[in-house]
């Protein structure tokens, strides 16, 4: 058995998650175009490599070789800092997401999670709320009125939807009584019991959370900060080359994280149906050791979690190519007069049901 130094395993996990986020974001650009094409009766990029699978590579080459452009009168330092910040905040949030249960080799158990903190949910929430800075700073530093308008829209949109998002989360936390994402996941499946995922207990909360996730990631129908019809390119009007690439990348990483969080909070995370039955069946009928069976379950669970995440990413794109963009006043009205009251009602209902003992 190899002896890993303290934090060694975690740094490996973090590195893998980091690489995975980047890889997934890369292929999201491809998936977005293919899905858009399919939804519109086209075939999408299919030239670079088999099925166009090397398209992201070609895009990267294009992005890197384009001219770096600095608009006149721009605040150069902040102009560069903006996309970097967007990327950093996007990458930070995946650290606490539990991507799998534990793998055990001999006496060592390894958790497939970057860091387990008992305020994991707050961490994700905090980092997501920081994400808007990249957009704001970049938009302001461009010295362009369209960029500035995009930045301002991003700020007010994120602040407004964060409220509803936080409140819909509170209902989940009331059920789970913890902020740790790992514990929330483990609670959604208990051995030997008929146990439901949180979506069953929190359908309304999930809808609110999902809508807010769309708004927080600036995706259509809430992509007003980059609304082409009104603002040219929104906050990234003046950006070119890889700085633009970082913004686009950050958006996809945010989608990935939002999907992961939704899967963990509402769809059981790395749990899948009948996992304990499968485990005991393997142990009893095939003479597997408990540890080996558990490891298999863990691996399957991780695969399952990624399938859930991909399903959500697909949903994000599916919605993007279905719904038209909201108008700005509609966006604000939806956020403040519909979602927030709904979230409050949801909290009240949840509290009442908990008191009555219907859900726990």
């Amino acid at each position: 058995m190899i002896e890993l130094p303290a934090l060694g395993w975690q740094s490996i996990v973090i590195f893998v998650v980091f690489a995975l986020s980047l890889l997934i974001a890369t292929y999201c650009t491809y998936a977005e175009r293919v899905i858009a094409a399919f939804l519109q009766d086209r075939v999408g990029p299919d030239r670079a490599g088999p099925f166009g699978l090397l398209q992201p590579l070609a895009d990267a080459v294009k992005m890197f070789t384009k001219e770096e452009f600095f608009p006149g009168g721009a605040n150069k330092a902040l102009f560069i800092f903006g996309p970097c910040l967007a990327m950093i905040t996007a990458l930070m949030s995946s650290a606490v997401i539990p991507f799998g249960n534990n793998l055990s080799f001999g006496n060592n158990a390894f958790f497939l999670q970057g860091i387990e903190v008992n305020v994991g949910m707050l961490w994700v929430f905090g980092v997501v709320s920081l994400g808007v800075y990249g957009v704001m700073i970049g938009g302001w530093a461009s010295n362009n009125k369209f960029s500035l308008l995009g930045a301002i829209r991003a700020a007010s949109q994120n602040i407004s939807y964060e409220l509803a998002m936080g409140m819909s989360l509170i209902a989940v936390l009331m059920i789970s009584e913890t902020l740790s994402l790992r514990t929330i996941t483990l609670q959604q499946s208990v051995a030997g019991e008929w146990h439901f995922w949180n979506i069953v207990k929190q359908p309304l909360g999930f809808i609110i959370f999902c809508v807010c996730a769309f708004a927080e990631t600036n995706r259509t129908p809430f992509d007003l900060p980059e609304c082409e019809t009104e603002l040219v390119g929104g906050y990234h009007t003046e950006y070119s080359s890889m700085k633009l690439g970082l913004y686009l990348f950050a958006e996809y990483i945010n989608i990935f994280v939002a999907s992961a969080v939704m899967s963990v909070l509402y769809f059981g995370g790395f749990n899948f149906p009948f996992q304990y039955e499968l485990r005991s069946w393997l142990v009893e009928n095939h003479d597997w050791t408990l540890a080996a069976a558990q490891n298999l379950i863990t691996v399957l669970g991780t695969v399952g979690l990624f399938l859930k995440i991909f399903a959500f990413i697909f949903f994000f794109m599916w919605v993007r190519w279905t719904l038209p963009r909201f108008r700005y006043d509609q966006l604000m009205r939806l956020g403040w007069t519909i979602l927030i009251p709904l979230a409050v009602v949801n909290i009240l209902i949840t509290g009442g049901l908990i008191l009555l003992g219907v859900i726990k």
Partner: protein
């Protein structure tokens, strides 16, 4: 004022709860796009897959030769007269002794140019030609070019190249003697 009785009276009803909730409409929309996801794609992957030409397609012109490889055009100018876009210009010349195997008629076109930027591919030149010399090919488009003057097609690009041994599109196959004489004709021809 009522012009027709087909006007539809639109009543602005207050929205029902389902309409105001907006979610049902979203799912309806999602199902529509999902249907399209599985539909047959309209894309033609061009270089590998070529869209079939319509049977009456009129494409790039060709100046035909007769079965002995002689140019059919007699520079009568009827095509230029018929052309609504005034795309055709030509210079007529007299056939010299010894050129009988090159040109079918005593008068022939020394130069014959069609400006493909002006041409509207109407096919009137083809209809006007008494010698059945100019045709619009059914399977060839005028390709894109970088320079405008490259669109002025001279005889070098218009006159039908003939390979003596090949069976023509119409299925005419020359006898070996005919092919030989055609080959020698082509050899002495100016480009």
């Amino acid at each position: 004022m009522q012009l027709t009785n087909r006007a539809k009276k639109l009543e602005k009803k207050p929205m029902t709860l389902a309409e105001r909730a907006y979610l049902p409409a979203i799912f309806q929309g999602l199902s529509i796009t999902m249907r399209h996801f599985f539909m047959k794609k309209a894309t033609v992957r061009y270089p590998e897959e070529v869209r079939p030409f319509s049977p009456i397609f009129r494409g790039l012109h060709v100046l035909k030769r007769d079965e002995q490889g002689r140019e059919r055009c007699t520079a009568c100018g009827l095509c230029a007269v018929a052309c609504p876009a005034e795309a055709i210009t030509m210079v007529a010349g007299e056939r010299k002794k010894g050129e009988e195997s090159l040109y079918r008629e005593e008068k022939y076109a020394i130069s014959y140019e069609i400006n493909m930027l002006r041409c509207i591919f109407c096919g009137l030149c083809e209809e006007a030609c008494p010698k059945a010399a100019v045709y619009l090919q059914a399977d060839k488009i005028a390709p894109p070019r970088y320079e405008r003057d490259e669109f002025i097609y001279g005889k070098d690009r218009l006159v039908e190249p003939v390979s003596p041994d090949a069976r023509s599109i119409r299925g005419i196959q020359l006898t070996p003697e005919q092919a030989d004489s055609l080959r020698s004709n082509l050899a002495q021809q100016p480009v």
